[in-house]
């Protein structure tokens, strides 16, 4: 059983599958009228968010409440952080307040690892996204969604062996892409990353991926899922690409490209989407799109992570 969830790179295939299987249990519970489980009753979890995030924070909060945990939301904006308190001092304060677990989002890569490895506080840590490093629960919910769509009721115990996933866009700045690359590798999927060369990280040729600069070529072979990454238009000012139009033409999931996809190819996006930039509405709103499923599954995966880490077991008791 894992103690913290800091990255998908640190997971083993077995621990990743165990988390996905626990998430299946949570999905079953989610279909009941009473969605609540008493598992974390009496436990206090702090959502320590140093970076704006509505989607991820709410997803964690729903997961925590369904597990009956007491939830404290700490946002760096109305807190002493804006008055210049150090990260360490904030963590020491939380320790004295007696929290049982920390979910942390931080703009600095590695902040969750410091929290877990230093002797500042001794509680489980879940990384909810750190800088451009990792966003492991996003990758787990993506894998859960993929597995669910590819294997259906046969999902339990399985990986994603042989599945072909194309990840498109700003891999350079994307913690989602990094976490997905490592997790999909653990689960046996084959990953192709497609982007202009400026948005491929230095050294990525040493990662367990194929790299392509040509989206049409990458999509000309059978693909189980195409995962579009958010592109921030301010990247233009840093000379990563000339303009939004050229980006969309080259690397966007346009109507034309979407029309050429096999009907079985899933369309994914971690959100929030820039419609018309990296993805067209026809694709986002199509029956092939699992984007809203990703949101729903996020709650089950985060429940599974918190449950496993805070109770020390992956077996869910259905009391």
């Amino acid at each position: 059983m894992i103690r913290h969830l800091l990255s998908t790179r640190d997971l083993t295939r077995a621990s990743a599958i165990a988390l996905l299987d626990t998430a299946e249990d949570m999905a079953v519970l989610g279909a009941r009228e009473n969605k609540k489980l008493p598992a974390l009753r009496g436990k206090t979890i702090v959502n320590l968010f140093y970076e704006d995030s509505t989607r991820t924070r709410i997803s964690f909060e729903v997961a925590q409440k369904r597990l009956s945990a007491d939830v404290i939301n700490f946002s760096a904006k109305g807190s002493s952080v804006s008055k210049g308190e150090s990260f360490k001092d904030t963590i020491l304060t939380l320790r004295e307040l007696g929290v049982d677990g920390v979910v942390i989002r931080h703009p600095s890569s590695g902040a969750p690892q410091l929290l877990a490895e230093r002797d500042w506080i001794d509680v489980p840590v879940v990384n909810a996204g750190d800088g451009t490093h990792e966003h492991p629960t996003q990758a787990l919910l993506d894998a859960f969604t993929l597995r669910n769509n590819l294997s259906g009721n046969e999902s339990r115990g399985r990986g994603l062996d042989g599945a072909r996933v194309v990840i498109v866009g700003d891999v350079f700045h994307s913690r989602v892409a990094r976490s997905n690359i490592w997790l999909l590798e653990h689960l046996g999927a084959r990953v192709t990353v497609v982007a202009p060369a400026t948005l491929i990280p230095s050294g990525a040729e040493r990662w367990p991926i194929s790299i392509s600069y040509d989206l049409d070529a990458a999509l000309s072979e059978p693909v189980d899922a195409v995962m579009m990454l958010r592109v921030q238009s301010e990247r233009m000012r840093e000379a990563f690409f000339p303009n939004a139009h050229e980006y969309t033409q080259g690397w966007g999931l346009t109507e034309e490209r979407f029309a050429r996809l096999a009907p079985s190819t899933l369309v994914m996006h971690p959100g929030p989407m820039n419609r018309g930039l990296e993805i067209c509405s026809e694709a986002a709103d199509s029956s092939q799109s699992v984007i809203l499923q990703q949101v729903a599954n996020g709650v089950f995966v985060r429940m599974a992570v918190l449950y496993s880490i805070l109770t020390g077991t992956s077996e869910v008791s259905h009391e």
Binding site: K88, S108, G110, A111, H133, E134, S202, G203, W207
Partner: protein, 451 residues
């Protein structure tokens, strides 16, 4: 005056074992010596070197005394076997005029552990636009000859060209911190697979190499002397090698940490390993070792950069760049270069004492009769786990804490008196009293004045 010292059976850099007698601030006898009044120091098994000279130190005073002062930095230097340090100009106020460099010189003399030879800023306020009072600093009591905006690159090619030309009027040298600013915006560690995996913004090798390539060509065109600070990449070694083969007046330094440590240490997100230029790859480490061994790189310089705990015990990207290095420098050179057979003790004398003195335009005599008694004795057989016990600096941001290192400085002498005695730092009061007495003696007898 301090008591005479007789070092018995010390090993000189040549390998010769001999006695060395020190009296009145000078080396007065080398050979088989008997003395009635000298304190006898058993130096059998100890390697004697001329006092080490660090061309790249941050003493933080004035302005950042919570990190280091001239006194504490001088003590760290003595512990490391140094007798001269060149403090960089990025103090507050910046050392861009005569009054600041004279203040540093005076503080160094009062402390008395080492000769503090200030480096002046190239540009006013390190702003990179207008030249600092270069001649004013050169003509001051501090006799500044090395100028650097270290911490910042003189990236404007016009300003760099003019600075190189201008200081050549008085035999000055520009020490460049080679870092193309646009290519390193927000940079956190060496660009490459590790940085990409860790999500830390990359500091590409080309940001260093392109500036060095530009600068050697400018130096050639104006016939001026260029010194390249803390060179860190294999490509930089190639550029310097090419420039030297072409006859360009360029010298280069490498830090101890770039001779040993590699980028993968960032995987801990422990900001003790955050430094500028960043730790590089194993290939780069091998290339800078080779460059130092074959003379392409002239010297080892520490880039001793003290920072308070809170500047390092935090998120990587908000942490300060830099490591302390004075106390550990000789051990790292021993470990990486001497024990591997790439440098002899004669070479160590060259890269850590003679060549940095020459680049810094200081007189250097070495271990000869009549020379100022600036020397250090190191026990090369010693191995110890490096700890805060070995740090005399006010700051503790050493990347070597907990690591086993070879070699311990047993004695350091500055102008005839001990600053480190049997492995222990001599107290500030004792050293200051010796320094004061030496100054009084020098004023009456016209004795040792060499910088």
């Amino acid at each position: 005056m301090s008591e005479p010292l007789l070092f018995r059976q010390a090993t000189l850099p040549s390998g010769e074992q001999t006695d060395v007698l020190v009296r009145d601030g000078l080396i007065v006898e080398i050979g088989s010596v008997t003395s009635k009044d000298a304190r006898s120091v058993d130096a059998a098994g100890l390697q004697m070197l001329p006092g080490l000279v660090d061309l790249h130190t941050h003493l933080r005073e004035p302005g950042f005394e919570q990190s280091e002062t001239v006194l504490t930095g001088s003590q760290a230097a003595a512990v490391g076997g140094f007798t001269t340090v060149f403090p960089m100009a990025n103090t507050m106020p910046v050392a861009d005029n005569a009054s600041v460099v004279e203040l540093e010189l005076a503080r160094g003399r009062e402390a008395g552990y080492v000769h503090v030879q200030p480096i002046g800023a190239v540009t006013a306020g390190l702003a990179g636009t207008a030249l600092a009072d270069l001649k004013g600093m050169a003509d001051s009591r501090a006799r500044v000859r090395v100028f650097s905006d270290d911490g910042k690159c003189v990236d404007d090619p016009l300003v760099m060209r003019r600075a190189l030309e201008y200081v050549s009027s008085f035999d000055g040298v520009i020490a460049q911190h080679a870092q193309e600013p646009r290519l390193t915006e927000g940079a956190q560690m060496n660009e490459g697979e590790v940085a990409s995996r860790l999500g830390l913004a990359g500091w590409p090798a080309i940001a260093e190499e392109t500036i060095i390539a530009r600068d050697v060509l400018i130096a050639e065109s104006v016939g001026a002397a260029l010194h390249v600070c803390h060179l860190s990449t294999a490509g930089s070694v190639d550029v310097i090698r090419w420039a030297k083969a072409r006859g360009i007046r360029v010298t280069a330094e490498v830090t101890p940490h770039h001779l040993l440590l590699t980028e993968d240490l960032a995987e801990s997100y422990d900001a003790r390993f955050k430094v500028n230029p960043p730790l590089r790859t194993t290939e780069d480490v091998m290339a800078v070792r080779q460059g130092l061994a074959d003379g392409t790189i002239d010297i080892v310089a520490t880039d001793h950069a003290p920072h308070p705990t809170e500047a390092k015990e935090c998120e990587w990207d908000v942490a300060a760049f830099g490591m302390v290095g004075l106390e550990s420098a000789l051990s790292i050179v021993l470990l990486t270069m001497v024990e591997s057979g790439q440098l002899s003790w004669n070479d160590v004398e060259r890269v850590m004492s003679r060549a940095p003195s020459q680049i810094g335009r200081l007189e250097w005599s070495g271990l000869v009769v009549g020379a100022p008694a600036r020397l250090t004795l190191v026990d090369p057989a010693d191995r110890h786990v490096f700890s805060t016990e070995q740090l005399a600096s006010r700051s503790q941001n050493s990347p070597y804490l907990g690591r086993e290192l070879p070699g311990r400085v047993a004695y350091t002498a500055f102008d005839g008196y001990l600053t480190v005695d049997a492995g222990t730092l001599v107290s500030a009061e004792t050293v200051a009293a010796h320094a004061s007495a030496a100054r009084a003696n020098s004023a009456t007898s016209g004795g040792v004045t060499n910088g």
